[in-house]
Amino acid sequence: MRIAIIGLGLVAVSDALALARTHDVVLTGPVPDRVEAINAGDFPLHDPSVAAYLAQYEVSVTATLDTAAALDGAELILISSPLSMDPETGAFLTTELETRIEMAHARCPGVPIVIRSAVPIGFTNKMRDLLGSPAILCAPEFQREAQSLQDALHPKFMIVGDRGALGSRVGAVLLSAALRPGVQMRLMGASEAEAVKHFSQAYLAARVAFFNELDSYALAKSLNSRQVIDGVCLDPRIGTYVNNPCFGFGGQRVPRSMVHLNTMLGDLPLHILPTVTHTNNARIALLASKVLERDPQQVGIYSPDGNSGSRDPLAALRKRLVAGGANVRLYTGAAPNGRDDLSDFKADCDVILAQRITPDLEDISGKVFSRDLYASAHGFVSARA
C-alpha cells in the first residue's frame, strides 16, 4: 500500500520506518534539511536502534517537500504534526493542521486521513462535519521520545478512533508496523480516542505529582524518600515505573494535555486533574528554600539539554532563587565553539541543581542538589515526556 505521512518529526519518521517494511511510504514536510537527510538514508531520530533496524530490514521510505506529490496515489494518509498552544488561553492552535487535512481531503477524496498527534477532544468529529467526510479519524501515538522507533515497532497497544469497518481497516494497516503479532487494538469513538491520549498524559502527570509530593514530605521531615518510594511501589497495583522524584514537570506534552483538559473541564467539580497541573508551585518553593538554607555563594543550574521554555521547572526555580538573593549561573550544554564551559561552571558554583544526576557530575557530587533518587541505575524515567 502507498502511504503518505505529513510530518517530519519523531513520530512521523518512526511510523514511516516501521510501516515501510511492508508498504511504500512517502514523508512530506517543509524542512529541506530533513527531507534531504531522509532521502540520503539518514533518519533524524533520537532512538539508537535505527541503524540495527535498517541493517536487518529493507524499507521503502522517501521524503519530499512537495506535499501534493506525496499525496498523489496515496491509499492512506497519516498526519503527525504536533500542535502548538496559545500561551495565553492554553488552547491548541489547529489552523495549520486543519489546512493540511483540507488539502489531503481535497487531493485524495475518500482516502482515510489518520491524525496521529494529540488534538483537542472533539477535533476529529469537527473536521468530519466540516468536510462532510467520515474518512477522517484519529489514532493517537504513544511513543516515547528516545525510543520512538522501538515503540513504533513494539507498540504496547493501539487505539483507533472509529468504531466501524474503516477503523478496522486502518487499524490493520497500523498493526502491520508492529514486528510481533498479538498487539491489543481497541476501536472507539473519535472523541474517546482523543481523550485517551490526554488522560494517558494526565495519569503520568498525576503519578509524577504524587511522587514529587511524597518526596517534598520526606524532604521536609528528613525521611529516607527512596525507602518510602520503594515500599510504596512494591505494590503491583502501583508499580515501579515513573516514580523518581524531580523538580517538577518540564517538556511539552504533559503540560499541554493538562492545560487542554483543564480548559475543557470548565467548572466541573474536579480536584485531581486541576491540581496536578499546578502542583509544581509549592514544590518549587520548598526546593528553593532548601537550596537557600545552604547559604550558597554561587548557585549553578545544570541543564545540559538546554532550556525547555517557560514551563521548565528549572526556570521557575531560578526565578525563586534570584528573588531569594542568590547568584545563579546557568549551564545549558557545551558551547558551539567547543569551549569546555562545564569545568569552569563546576568550579565556580558551590551548589549545583540538577534534575537528573549524570556521570558529568560525579566528580562534584558533594555540590549537587538533586531529587534524583535512582540516578540511572533503576527506574530512570525522565519526567520530560
Binding site: 488522560f199 498525576a206 505529582a209 517534598s216 514530605y217 518510602v228 510504596v232 467539580p269 485531581i272
Partner: protein, 388 residues
C-alpha cells in the same frame, strides 16, 4: 515460637492464622463471641481462606479473653487493634494500641511488640521515646478486606520498620508463613515504614478518584467513559485494575488513610494530598445532584457494603450519598442482607428484594449485580465493568 496476637479483626485474625501455621499462637480479643467462634474453628468475619484454615484444624491457635494468658511467655506480640480515624482531632485514635502495650509490659516486659494497626507517620518513634520502651516495632499491613488471609499468604512485600537483627527476625517470621518464594522484604526506619503504608493507600485513593473524575467528565459531556478507560488501561503501566468508576473510594482504609496523610502534611506544602481527599466529597456531591435532578420519590439503596464479598459497611461510599439524599429530604429504603436490624440510620431496611425493587422508583447501587437485572432501568450506578 510462642506468639500472641492482640485483636481479632481482619488484620489480627489473618496474622494469627498465618503465624499459627508454624508457631504456637494465642490471640486475645475483648469480644466473647469472636473468641468462642475462633476456638470452635469458625470465622467471625467473611473471608474464604480464613474460614477454610480455621475449619481445617491444622493450626496451633487458640483465642482468649484474658490478656495475661495470651501475653505470658510470648516472644512476640502482634498488635492489631483498631485505630479509627477521629475527624475531630484529625488523627487515628491509637489508645487501643497503648492499652495493649501497657498490658504486655505488665506481664511480659521482654516481649517484642509489633504494631500492625495503621498509625500516623512518626507515631512509633514518638511512642518509644514517650514510654522509654524500645521493644516496639511497626510493620505495615497491606491486606484487602475480604481477602485478608490470602493477601498475607501471598504478600506483595513485607516491610518492617527497624533496620536491625530483630527487625530481620520479624520479617523472617512473616516471610516463613507465606506460600510464595521470594517475597520482597524491606527493612526501614519506623517512620518510613509508617509513611509507606499511608502513601500506598493514598496513591490507590488517587487512582480511584482519577477514574471517577474521568467518569464525571463523561457524564457531563457525551464521551463514553467505558471506551476511554478501557483504552487508557491497555497501557500495561496504567494497568487494568482499580479503574471501575464508583460512588467514591471507601471502605476501612482509603478514606481514613488519605485523611491521616493530609493531616500529617500539616506543615508541608501540599496540594495533591488535599485534592485526593476533596475529590471524594466532590464526586459524591456531583452524583447526589445528578440523582436529585431525576426527582425521585423513594430511592432504594442497594447494598451498603463497599465491595461484593465483604460484610462490612464502615465508611462505604454509598453512605455519603445516603447522607446527601437525606439532607435533600428524599425518602430512602435500604436493601442490605448483612444488616439485620429493621432500620439503618432511621431508614427502613427492606431485605425482600422483590418488595424493595417495587417500592423504590430509583435504585442506587455502587456495584451492579445480577439480582438487579430485572429492574435495570431504575438503577443508578457508575459501575462500568460489573466488578469491584
Amino acid at each position: 515460637m510462642k506468639i500472641a496476637v492482640a485483636g481479632l479483626g481482619y488484620v489480627g485474625l489473618s496474622n494469627a492464622i498465618l503465624l499459627a501455621r508454624h508457631n504456637e499462637v494465642c490471640a486475645v480479643d475483648i469480644t466473647p463471641e469472636r473468641v468462642a467462634m475462633v476456638n470452635a474453628g469458625q470465622s467471625p468475619i467473611v473471608d474464604v481462606e480464613i474460614s477454610e484454615y480455621l475449619a481445617s484444624g491444622s493450626l496451633t491457635l487458640r483465642a482468649t479473653l484474658d490478656p495475661a494468658e495470651a501475653y505470658s511467655g510470648a516472644e512476640v506480640v502482634i498488635i492489631a487493634t483498631p485505630t479509627n480515624y477521629d475527624a475531630q482531632t484529625h488523627a487515628f485514635d491509637t489508645s487501643s494500641i497503648e492499652a495493649v502495650i501497657a498490658s504486655v509490659r505488665a506481664v511480659n516486659p521482654d516481649a517484642l511488640m509489633v504494631i500492625k494497626s495503621t498509625v500516623p507517620v512518626g507515631y512509633t518513634a514518638a511512642l518509644r521515646e514517650r514510654l522509654a520502651c524500645d521493644n516496639i516495632l511497626f510493620s505495615p499491613e497491606f491486606l484487602r478486606e475480604g481477602r485478608a488471609l490470602y493477601d498475607n499468604l501471598h504478600p506483595s512485600r513485607i516491610v518492617v520498620g527497624e533496620v536491625s537483627d530483630r527487625g530481620q527476625m520479624v520479617a523472617d517470621l512473616l516471610r516463613a508463613a507465606t506460600l510464595d518464594a521470594d517475597v520482597p522484604v524491606l527493612l526501614t526506619a519506623s517512620t518510613e515504614a509508617e509513611a509507606i503504608k499511608l502513601f500506598a493507600n493514598t496513591y490507590l485513593a488517587m487512582r480511584v478518584s482519577f477514574f471517577n473524575e474521568i467518569d464525571t467528565i463523561a457524564m457531563a459531556t457525551d464521551i463514553d467513559a467505558r471506551e476511554v478507560i478501557e483504552g487508557l488501561c491497555l497501557d500495561p503501566n496504567v494497568g487494568d485494575h482499580y479503574n471501575n468508576p464508583s460512588f467514591g473510594y471507601g471502605g476501612y482504609c482509603l478514606p481514613k488513610d488519605s485523611k491521616q496523610m493530609l493531616a500529617n502534611f500539616a506543615d508541608v506544602p501540599q496540594e495533591l494530598m488535599c485534592a485526593i481527599v476533596d475529590a471524594n466529597d466532590a464526586r459524591k456531591d456531583f452524583l447526589a445532584d445528578n440523582i436529585l435532578a431525576r426527582k425521585p420519590q423513594t430511592v432504594g439503596v442497594h447494598r451498603l457494603v463497599m465491595k461484593a464479598g465483604s460484610d462490612n459497611f464502615r465508611e462505604s461510599a454509598v453512605q455519603g450519598l445516603i447522607q446527601r439524599l437525606e439532607d435533600a429530604g428524599v425518602d430512602l429504603i435500604i436493601y442490605e442482607p448483612a444488616c439485620t436490624s429493621a432500620e439503618f440510620n432511621g431508614h427502613p431496611v427492606e431485605n425482600d428484594l422483590a418488595r424493595f425493587n417495587a417500592k423504590a422508583d430509583l435504585i442506587i447501587a455502587n456495584r451492579m449485580t445480577p439480582d438487579l437485572a430485572a429492574v435495570a432501568d431504575k438503577v443508578f450506578t457508575r459501575d462500568l465493568f460489573a466488578a469491584n
